[in-house]
């Protein structure tokens, strides 16, 4: 069985590497509002019974725009690491498709600009 597996693996074995991610968008030309960001958060986070305050995790409660901002203010590094960074694992670690890079870049710009309304 292991030999058969090894043969199958060798037959299907490829070595692809993703291209280098392009630099983040120029934030000076990006005009994103809190309302737009909160729509994205609702679509990808709270509407899936995660982060709404009624589910889990309760410390990352995004049930209102104010709570979302408060979380990002106090957990900026974690937010960057898990949502907008190169190794972001949200929401795909929960089995959902990852956020498109353009969306991640827009969120990062919004945070970098001080989360304007």
């Amino acid at each position: 069985m292991p030999a058969l597996l090894a043969l199958c693996i060798l037959a299907a074995c490829t070595s692809e590497q993703a291209p280098e991610p392009t630099a983040n968008a120029d934030c000076s030309t990006v005009n994103v509002t809190a309302a737009r960001i909160y729509e994205i958060v609702q679509q990808h986070c709270t509407n899936r019974s995660c982060h709404p305050g009624t589910g889990s995790p309760l410390n990352a409660d995004f049930s209102t725009p104010a709570k979302l901002k408060n979380y990002i203010s106090t957990n900026g590094a974690s937010w960057t690491f898990r949502v907008t960074g190169a190794g972001a694992d949200m929401p795909q670690s929960q089995g959902y498709p990852p956020l498109p890079k353009a969306v991640r870049d827009s969120i990062a710009c919004w945070v970098n600009k001080g989360m304007p309304d």
Binding site: M1, L5, I9, T14, Q17, A18, T22, Q92, P100
Partner: protein, 309 residues
């Protein structure tokens, strides 16, 4: 009777080493002294890593493994009931003993890392069994798997989970489990491992070697302390690139208690690895014990004898 007389004469006159050989000649290969050492580990997994054990012929092993969320750190604490509100990975598997030395299995995992929705086919073969007479001082078991993700492709080519073709979804592991049981109390295992991922992120590694070390310290007939650690050989260029972008990789460490309860072997364990499959926890662990990013996990194993013995 003749055998008895011969045996008595040999015991009285021959040196111990000679007696051993002569007994072997009399009783053939089934000499008690050449019996393979059994129960080096109580389960087919140590914690994260494989043990040397395979299933007995005709045994079906239904396994459920679960890893909860971070106990501490920003994702843990009392608000998540120390991680119990979250699950980082769940694996459900059926493994079957084709012979006493050969096990095959199928599993589905949630997955945690670059990919999710993981389907695994695995094989495990005992190449060598440690014997009581030390003629074979270690057991060697070969483990291999092939895994495919059924998750939706990312729309961004720069993401590792962008799938241009089916083979981009695949990964595989080949591993040797070199084990030795020292008396009734202590068992150790060395696990040289190779992970291949067909598609990875920029500056990540398609091929990665790792060395695992596992052990079991038995306290009583039913309870033992188990631990395993995997050191991943990620190259410096890859480490530097990911650290410059805010991602640091860590080696996985698991410690736990193994409790045998009749037909079950229950594992109560703690590990920083968020994923269950070797294909992910060896190259993609980004959580560390020192930041409170370790979690409670369990492996439950229920064996059904489907005959064949």
């Amino acid at each position: 009777m003749l055998h008895l007389r011969l045996l008595t004469a040999l015991l009285l006159t021959a040196p111990a080493a000679m007696a051993q050989d002569d007994l072997g000649a009399i009783f053939g290969k089934d000499s008690v002294r050449r019996d393979p050492v059994t129960s080096t580990f109580k389960s087919t997994r140590i914690i994260n890593g494989q043990s040397n054990e395979t299933l007995a012929r005709g045994d079906l092993d239904f396994r459920v493994a679960h890893r909860f969320g971070d106990i501490g750190g920003s994702g843990g604490g009392s608000s998540t009931f120390f991680g119990l509100d979250n699950s980082t990975d769940i694996r459900i598997a059926f493994e079957y003993g084709i012979t006493d030395r050969l096990t095959a299995g199928l599993s589905r995992s949630k997955g945690n890392g670059n990919f999710s929705q993981m389907w695994e086919v695995l094989g495990k073969f005992k190449l060598l069994q440690q014997t009581h007479d030390n003629r074979v001082p270690v057991g060697i078991t070969l483990f291999a798997n092939a895994v495919v993700s059924s998750m939706k492709s990312s729309p961004d080519q720069a993401d590792p989970n962008y799938f241009a073709k089916f083979s981009d979804r695949g990964s595989a592991v080949a591993q040797l489990v070199i084990s030795r049981k020292f008396g009734e109390m202590v068992s150790l295992a060395l696990l040289p491992s190779f992970v291949h991922r067909n598609r990875v992120g920029f500056k990540d590694m398609n091929n990665m070697f790792a060395m695992g070390l596992g052990g079991r310290l038995r306290f009583s007939k039913r309870v033992a302390l188990v631990a395993d650690y995997f050191y991943s050989f990620r190259d410096e260029e890859s480490k530097d690139y990911y650290e410059s972008r805010g991602t640091k990789f860590y080696n996985s460490l698991g410690v736990g208690v193994e409790i045998e309860t009749g037909g079950h072997v229950f594992h109560l364990n703690f590990t920083n690895a968020t994923a269950i499959l070797e294909n992910q926890f060896i190259p993609e662990t980004v959580s560390t014990w020192t930041h409170g990013q370790f979690r409670w996990g369990f492996n439950i194993s229920r064996r059904f004898s489907l005959g064949g013995r």
